[in-house]
């Protein structure tokens, strides 16, 4: 899929680089870099428990991929998101997505899920890894690492082994 006709997204709540303030989602999906959107719901404990995992992987790939967080809950205010970012020690750019523009773009229905774009094309959407089996049941450690695999494939200019693996967590409310 191509993303030329992107709708605009709200200005980021928090941006480390300060480069994403023009409110244009096209700028988010830079052609020269792999981009990862991480969808989170503040009231979803599984989303929150992934914070250290998301921080670690975004740091590992920081020179090759651009990560940002997306909060698709309609009722999240900028202050809510700001507080969440500081509570969970995030230093990644974050965007509210009340109209679910980015969720639809990334084919995402559940938090936490990720959408990985390469050259503005969606190459992977779904879970980060297989840590959770269902709500309330998690493995001691994950045995598959879909996000990492998708990133490695995209950076090598290949298609990921699987384009979509649904996540375990919380549905995005009112997503049509």
């Amino acid at each position: 899929m191509t993303l030329a006709a992107l709708v605009s997204v709200p200005a980021p709540v928090f941006s480390q680089q300060g480069a994403d303030h023009d409110g244009n989602a096209a700028r988010l999906l830079s052609p020269d870099k792999v981009v990862v959107m991480v969808f989170l719901r503040r009231d979803c404990p599984i989303s929150s428990r992934y914070a250290p995992v998301i921080q670690k992987i975004s740091k590992t790939y920081s020179d090759r991929a651009k990560f940002f967080l997306v909060f698709p809950d309609k009722t999240d205010s900028a202050e809510d998101i700001q507080k969440y970012l500081s509570d969970y020690h995030y230093s990644l750019p974050a965007f509210p997505d009340p109209e679910h523009t980015l969720a639809k773009l990334g084919h995402v229905q559940i938090t936490p899920e990720v959408a990985v774009f390469s050259d503005r094309r969606l190459v992977y959407d779904g879970r980060i890894d297989d840590w959770y089996i269902e709500p309330g049941r998690a493995r001691a450690a994950p045995t598959t690492h879909e996000l990492k695999d998708a990133l490695d494939a995209a950076l090598a200019g290949k298609a990921p082994a699987r384009a979509e693996v649904r996540g375990v967590g919380c549905y995005i409310s009112d997503l049509e």
Partner: protein, 592 residues
Amino acid sequence: MIRIHWLVIGVSVALAAQDSKPVTFNRDIAPIMFRSCAMCHRPGEAAPFSLLTYSDAKKHARQIADVTRSRAMPPWLPEPQQLKFADEMRLAQAGIDLIQRWVEQGALEGDTKDLPAPPKFVEGWQLGKPDLVLTAKKPLELSPQRTDTYWNFIFPVPITETRWVKAIEIRPGDKRYVHHANILVDRSSASRKREAEPGAGFGGMEIRIESQVFDPDSHLLFWKPGTVPYVEPEGMALRLDKGTDLILNTHLQPSGKPEVIQPSIGLYFTPQAATKLPMLLQLENDVQLDIPPGRKDFLVTDEFTLPVDVDLMAIYPHAHYLGKDIQAFATLPDGTKKTLIHIPHWNLNWQAVYRYTQPVRLPKGTKVSLRYTYDNSDENPLNPNQPPARVVGGNRSRDEMCHLWLQVLPVNFDAALGDPRMALQEALARHNVEKNPGDFEAHYNLAAMLQAKDKLDAAIGEYELAVRLRPEDAAANNALGAALVAAGHPDRGAGYLRTALKARPDYFDAHYNLGFALAGQDDFEGASQQFTLALQLQPDDANVEANLGTALAQMGRFPEAKSHFERALQIDPNQAIAKENLEALRKEVSPY
């Protein structure tokens, strides 16, 4: 015939009419949420979001449909059975179906006239202000990383005399991160030795507390999300003595950010001493746990025949991450079989104590059986080893366990024949020794039981077997040594007591017992040294002061002896030996 036929048609028409109405939150869903979800899904409780209003429920509608359909929520593990549990959280299938239809139909709100009154919950302490509130001295800093943490907080109970507790409310800290918590009663201060510094607490999933005297655990003190504190039945209060520690064993789940966990517990006293003495029967078979990698249905069983009539009050099954199908049943002497509990899909995260709505009478001769299966294949996603590896019984979360606790109250017994709990404990100890002759604890416990019944020679035999299994175990060497001293063999006893002290130099009991052993051999110098060392470990022990005084008096060191007798009487004005010997000093040894 015709009438019946008409009646049937009438009923089905009425049902169809009801079915055609759209499902609404106010009429159909709110009663389910209020009854079965809101106790946790409200502010300040364990659940991540509230389910008190239409907008709360609408926001999570799809999630609610999913987790009720899979029965992940509300969390309730046992299958329905004839013997009912109190506070059952299981949703009826009809309710689950209604929720599905509500979501399929667009999660409608409906008429506000249909909305029932919201549930009322007590704020703060659920049973009112506790008589005594204890807070963990040092909070635990919970790391945001993936793995679960098991932590024990020690609460010394600042009471100066024996009190009776009718309820304990556990406030585990932030309820969102505490999965469950258990209180263990430590009457021997044994757990404090595991702390790096006083008040720090200590890690570990399972803890074992040794007891020197016959004082079996009696109560299941448990917290899980959504529970209201349990008030013990009339006459079944828990005894707390001066110097008792309460150990809160917690299972904590990281949140994704650093958290600070500082639990409190609230004690509710009653002036009424216990008149009914329940005890915890532990069935187990950890020795059978040696599960090869790949095995999907590894079966472990245990079977115990009750030596007395009991009322079964509550049941608490326990396994770790490989546990799969967990069953316990009772076969009565007349052949009737009763399922006590059946959990077809064990989940450690939702372990709980289950209390029966009515005590279950199990007559003498009833066989209580446990039957657990374990899945050590890679198809068990909770398997801590990927790829699967051999797993044996043990205390760590990656080890397995096969335990079942039953809270029973002996009934129909002849008090003249002694405490019926002793008969239970002895039968259990014999059962464990038979089941596993290599089980150190089984021999140790049987020995302690025999000793409590003054069967000293038999007790010494069992202690010897325990020491043979663990030649350097401090507790077993101390107990064997003490039993030999009591049986009139201080020379033989002293050797074991020295071994105990080699293993644990700060072992108060062993110093005390060795003091006796040496005094019994007229080595009063050695005895006074041991009593002095014991006093350094427990400075306020009147008995040790009195014994030290006696040893010194035996050596003619009267002024020193006198000061120790006086000190003993300062601590305990009724210390008989100190009183008597001080009097003897006054009379017989002038100028005392």
